[in-house]
Symmetry: C2
Subunit: 210 residues, 2 copies
Amino acid sequence: MTATRQTVRQAKGDATRQQILDAAERIFAEIGFAAARLDHVAESVGIRRPSILYYFPGKQQLYDEVEADIFASMHAFVLNRTEDVTEPMERLLALLDAWLDFLVSRPTAARIIQRLIADSAAYGNNPVRFSESALQDLEDVVAAGVASGQFHPVSAMVLLNSVAGSALHYVCNAHQLGPSRSYDPADPAQLAQFRSMMHRLARVAVAPQD
Amino acid sequence: MTATRQTVRQAKGDATRQQILDAAERIFAEIGFAAARLDHVAESVGIRRPSILYYFPGKQQLYDEVEADIFASMHAFVLNRTEDVTEPMERLLALLDAWLDFLVSRPTAARIIQRLIADSAAYGNNPVRFSESALQDLEDVVAAGVASGQFHPVSAMVLLNSVAGSALHYVCNAHQLGPSRSYDPADPAQLAQFRSMMHRLARVAVAPQD
């Protein structure tokens, strides 16, 4: 009986913890870390502020857990999509597709990463505290392609800024360009159009140069 | 004598007003609109908060003037670089180069635009209140290229997200990728490498498709 109760309480606690994380991710995405208040998160979940502090010591720790989960989930998503792909070009496209699909399905993650890029002082000396796995994923794919001789020795960071990062703008800009230019990034035709462009650009970016 | 005094006072007032705008642009770029306080701006200029309110009614108006100036300056920079260029592909590259050079020379503008893309609720129903001129510049160049038959009928907004927006990531990511991947976006060799990639991608993005 006691054991059952404890399990129920535990499950309820876990559910609340997850609700807090989900609400925090939405709010950090919408207004950013600096402007977000724990009160907003509490109100969104329908609990009181002290209840959040039962699960998280403060706003920074709550934010850190949100960002850590975004990059851990994105990395897992990439591994799943690329583990059976060995041909270098196919592997690069699988990585880019994984990032694109991940960000389209989780636009709050796109906004948080977009903000992270703008925040020049994030994490002081360690701006890649959580994003390192993503950068490493891209560097590994590029290094393998270059080693195989199929890719021009392109800089992974140039590729990041020029091709890979475009998925962020595709997702974040959906409703930022005025009513007449609004689009739904998850719309299949829209997504296919953008993906096709991303693939063309990726192929050219790593192709042997004249 | 009175006239001279008034001119001096006027000039001093204009200088202070410009100092406030410069400081505000730095602070809005670094920490964003929501987190920025007029106290920070005042401290940075070396004046007291009420002195700012003498020139600007409040934080929103100060921010609006900063953002308006960014897009007006960028538009003027584009006009200057493109007015004598008529060949469609050269015109597109001149536009992209103008954006890239403008953002490299004014990284605070890049950070503010990067934040604007993340801020889903900016300006309510009119997110393009200030950025409309930039979108229109790109649309005009793309439309002319398509009309000439030299460009594939590509969506200007797909081009914006996939190629044009990359200049923002190039500038903003300079010190966001960890110490081992840091770079100076204004370094000539670095900039030439990125520009060359951007040109290649732009050519392919509008090229007739198979």
